[in-house]
């Protein structure tokens, strides 16, 4: 086996941890092949793996992100237009530090500075959808081809969605006060020590925020993995069912959860024969749209623009789901 393959298996997929947990399950007298033993193995291994990866990843990624505060992103994007600017906005969306409570201030800051809606929405769609940490977790749980395909289609949705919203000519559908907001460039360059402090604080903050989602997500994943018969799962969400992608998307949209919590559920569902497209559609719907973020967005944009945003993102997710279900066999 190649060095890269070995590193990938041990560091990213953590096969050593899987073996260790299996040994631990045996040591307490459970059979990892049994239902109970298998559930315990899945739960312990996934929880430990996700928290290790989460901590290491968030630290490294936050350090990189500290070089790209939203103010800098806004300066980079200022004065640009066209499809190239949408692509740049979508790419910057993946590395700008983001939490859902910042999406509205960013929307106001970008719009007030005169960035076109097309660019602002490309950024706002890609930012939660294609997060660096989630990409590496996808590679860990599934594989690199799936993770890279996820990034590619996520960016396509962001670029296409932003472009469509720009074409609709809804610049007047923004709440009046937004354009009157003064534009200030308040950021200062962080010192290396500040970047480290920022990265450490991000780890603590994100782990504290997502741990309940991870535990619930892995719990549901473990239950599906060992207790729900594959026949029931595939009868409800199987690849041959035309409604599987729309159902997964509609269930996912109002949910407010973290991608780290949805990944273990996705893993278990794919193991039961649910199409990759259905699972990706579910994860994208959960992360890109949620009821709290829609309610917040309503305060800065008028209903037609909000409806267009929801329609465009939903359509993009549906298209990706159907596409990936058609080509699942390329990956698995």
């Amino acid at each position: 086996m190649s060095i890269f393959g070995w590193l990938n298996d041990q560091l990213l997929r953590m096969e050593w941890l899987s073996d260790l947990v299996t040994a631990g399950v045996l040591a307490v007298g459970l059979d990892p092949g049994s239902r109970l033993g298998g559930s315990v193995q899945f739960f312990v291994y996934d929880v430990v793996k996700i928290f290790i990866l989460l901590s290491v990843l968030i630290f490294c990624i936050s350090y990189v992100q500290s070089f790209f505060p939203p103010e800098r992103t806004r300066r980079i994007l200022g004065g640009r237009s066209g499809i190239g600017a949408n692509m740049l906005a979508a790419l910057l969306g993946t590395i700008t530090p983001f939490c859902s409570c910042s999406s509205i201030p960013i929307f106001i800051g970008f719009t007030a500075a005169g960035l076109p809606l097309a660019i602002t929405f490309s950024f706002l769609i890609s930012s939660p959808l294609v997060d660096l940490a989630s990409v590496i977790l996808l590679a860990s749980i599934f594989s690199w081809p799936i993770a890279l395909a996820y990034v590619a289609v996520g960016l396509v949705v962001a670029v296409a969605g932003g472009t469509l919203i720009g074409r609709a000519g809804m610049e007047d559908q923004v709440a009046g006060f937004v354009r009157g907001v003064p534009v200030q460039d308040g950021d200062h360059a962080m010192a290396p020590a500040e970047r480290l402090a920022f990265a450490r604080a991000q780890v603590g903050e994100i782990v504290r925020r997502v741990w309940p989602y991870v535990l619930v997500g892995v719990g549901i994943g473990a239950a599906i993995h060992n207790w729900v018969p594959a026949g029931i799962v595939s009868a409800l969400l199987g690849q041959d069912k035309w409604w599987s992608v729309p159902a997964a998307t509609l269930i996912g949209i109002p949910m407010y959860a973290d991608i780290f919590g949805t990944l273990p559920i996705a893993e278990a569902l794919v193991g039961k024969g649910v199409g990759l497209g259905t699972v990706l559609a579910f994860m994208m719907a959960v992360t890109a749209l949620s009821l709290p973020s829609i309610i917040m967005l309503k305060r800065v944009v008028r209903t037609p623009l909000l409806a267009l945003f929801l329609a465009v993102v939903t359509a993009g997710i549906l298209a990706i789901g159907v596409l990936f279900n058609a080509i699942t066999h390329w990956f698995i």
């Binding site: 201030p105 960013i106 007030a112 907001v181």
Partner: protein, 75 residues
């Protein structure tokens, strides 16, 4: 002294408000902590990543939860 915490009320804003209160107490300075949750007002300070920290109408930090020691130096 008036310390304003800018943010929609997420966990980070609560933590920052607590740190600010502790910093003011440690410095022995009477301070009024005001939470600003209205997006229009937050944006008026030019803040794009919450939480923001404003001391006597001057924006001193945004996007990061400063600890009490760091805030103490800014008071």
């Amino acid at each position: 002294m008036i310390i304003k915490i800018l943010g929609s009320g997420c966990r980070k804003c609560v933590a920052l408000a607590d740190n600010a209160r502790a910093a003011a107490a440690a410095a022995g300075k009477p301070a009024e902590i005001v939470k600003v949750t209205d997006f229009a007002q937050i944006a008026a300070y030019g803040v794009m990543s919450t939480p923001g920290l404003v001391i006597d109408e001057k924006l001193v930090a945004s996007g990061r939860v400063l600890n009490a020691e760091e805030i103490g130096k800014l008071l």
